[in-house]
Symmetry: C2
Amino acid sequence: MGRESVPALLRVLSGERLDPPPVWIMRQAGRYLPEYRELRTRAKSFLDFCYSPALATEAVMQPLRRFPLDAAILFSDILVVPDALGRKVWFVEGEGPRLNPLIEDESWRFDDAQRALQRLAPVYEAVERIKAAIPKEIALIGFAGAPWTVATYMLQGRGGDKDVARRTVYQRPHDVDALLDVLVEMTAQHLAAQVRAGADCLQIFESWAEGLSPVLFEELILLPTKKLVARVRELGVTTPIIGFPRGAGAQIAAYAQQTGVTGLGVDTQTSASFAIASVPKGMPLQGNLDPQTLVVGGQALEDAAKDVLFSFKGAPHIFNLGHGITPDATPENLARLIQVVKGGV
Amino acid sequence: MGRESVPALLRVLSGERLDPPPVWIMRQAGRYLPEYRELRTRAKSFLDFCYSPALATEAVMQPLRRFPLDAAILFSDILVVPDALGRKVWFVEGEGPRLNPLIEDESWRFDDAQRALQRLAPVYEAVERIKAAIPKEIALIGFAGAPWTVATYMLQGRGGDKDVARRTVYQRPHDVDALLDVLVEMTAQHLAAQVRAGADCLQIFESWAEGLSPVLFEELILLPTKKLVARVRELGVTTPIIGFPRGAGAQIAAYAQQTGVTGLGVDTQTSASFAIASVPKGMPLQGNLDPQTLVVGGQALEDAAKDVLFSFKGAPHIFNLGHGITPDATPENLARLIQVVKGGV
């Protein structure tokens, strides 16, 4: 197919700089949309919602009907992986996810990856349906949580500060290594299955890259992510992979250089100039508008958006936020943002 | 007096490298000590405790009786500043501080700095008592919260995520600037008064340096801290000042180069090599052991401590944690840590 029919997101991920840049928004199918809140009421639990191909597809389509976005992202959750491995996950309204914490168990046993993968069949069916439903110029992003981020939830039984997870790393280093290996294999299979079902590229969410000592950052983030990317490639996947190590600070340099990801998601706090100087020359960068500007709107939103556009001019750039859009953002502000981005600097 | 009678902490802050390095521990007077927990019961509220020179002095002395530490730090709280400015502060057991949030007020009025300073007289009396009680080779550190960190509590009425504070910055930029100016002046006066009462050096805690866009980092952290340091100097203070911008990531370079601080507190996540490469040549660095190692103890503690000692060999170094010691750490582990540090690498 002609170059112009390749989705803009994939062109940037192959190293091309586009002006204006392609744009998508982390959590673009989410609670800031009234139609999403309505849709959400049709499933009993959040995971039931994720496991319903029809509901997940509809959730993905909602923002595409409103905004000229360049990508869709599978509607799912990073915790479907432990759920499929037999560590039951549930969501407490207004508080977030819960699991029975591993630290309270004697032995850490998991169902095997092949059986777990069968449980995730509805996710891959959702990918197929979404792929069939979206226009061909819109890229479809599959995703998973990175091994350490998913492990923190499994160890602690919840989000919040990671003191318990970090403590367990010091206390039971071999068990944690084994857990990360299980997650590497299962996550690689999960990502490869999404690509087989139609995903055009992948994003690995390392939502808890912050607060680790340099030694632990290497053990818990760099090595498992490198293994994960290598295993995904071994499974025959050639699509680009965006790594998003939120809160990694100066460690984004090592992450971008060592893990094998195609592109780097940049969080709000990291300056574009530092990111550009830190990654291998020409690596595509994605980010990094402060999500609070979509709550505030007006001149503050326009100024901040233009600052992001301008500051990433030196790299192949995918416009996005530095963190997910919040429920109190407004669809009107997002519409205005995309106008600003598409208008260029 | 002879060079050898100058406290080791001050020698390092003047640029000298000592082996073994001086050591103190953030929150060394704290809940991990049984005698502290007993002492704490003698005051009705946490702020009453801070405002009692006798209790504050006793709290400071407790860890010095157990451990060969090189510094004492005033027992107080960063929120005495808003409290003195007339924004009443209270602490909810197990949850943290509360203030009536500014965002719910129409006008932001504060008592003037001179009157506020008089309310803090018990703090300066505590400094005098502590100074008289400690051996002369132990340095006494005074401290305050940085303007932005204190402002986040005042804006939101509590800690936690800083979305509300950041949103207010976008919505009411001039009001936030004015608030930061009030805090700069009051904090400078507060720090200068501590030095007049006997503090040998100062630390500025920027506990919430994380999550700000580069533009906001400059407005909310770099400029106010620069103003604060300049104002402290204008008030005649010549003692060294340690700046601790926790979570600043790659922005520590700008912070160390632009604010005028004497030394830099390094958080757990920042590698020594990045810190050394980022700060002006020869700047003293303080940090950065993971506090969770003091919960775990054993080989994990020794390995992590030696890694910190070794990795900071290229700079004048003050050994400390990268964050405060936690209530579930043990005094035995801290004793072992200090043995390891004093044994050198």
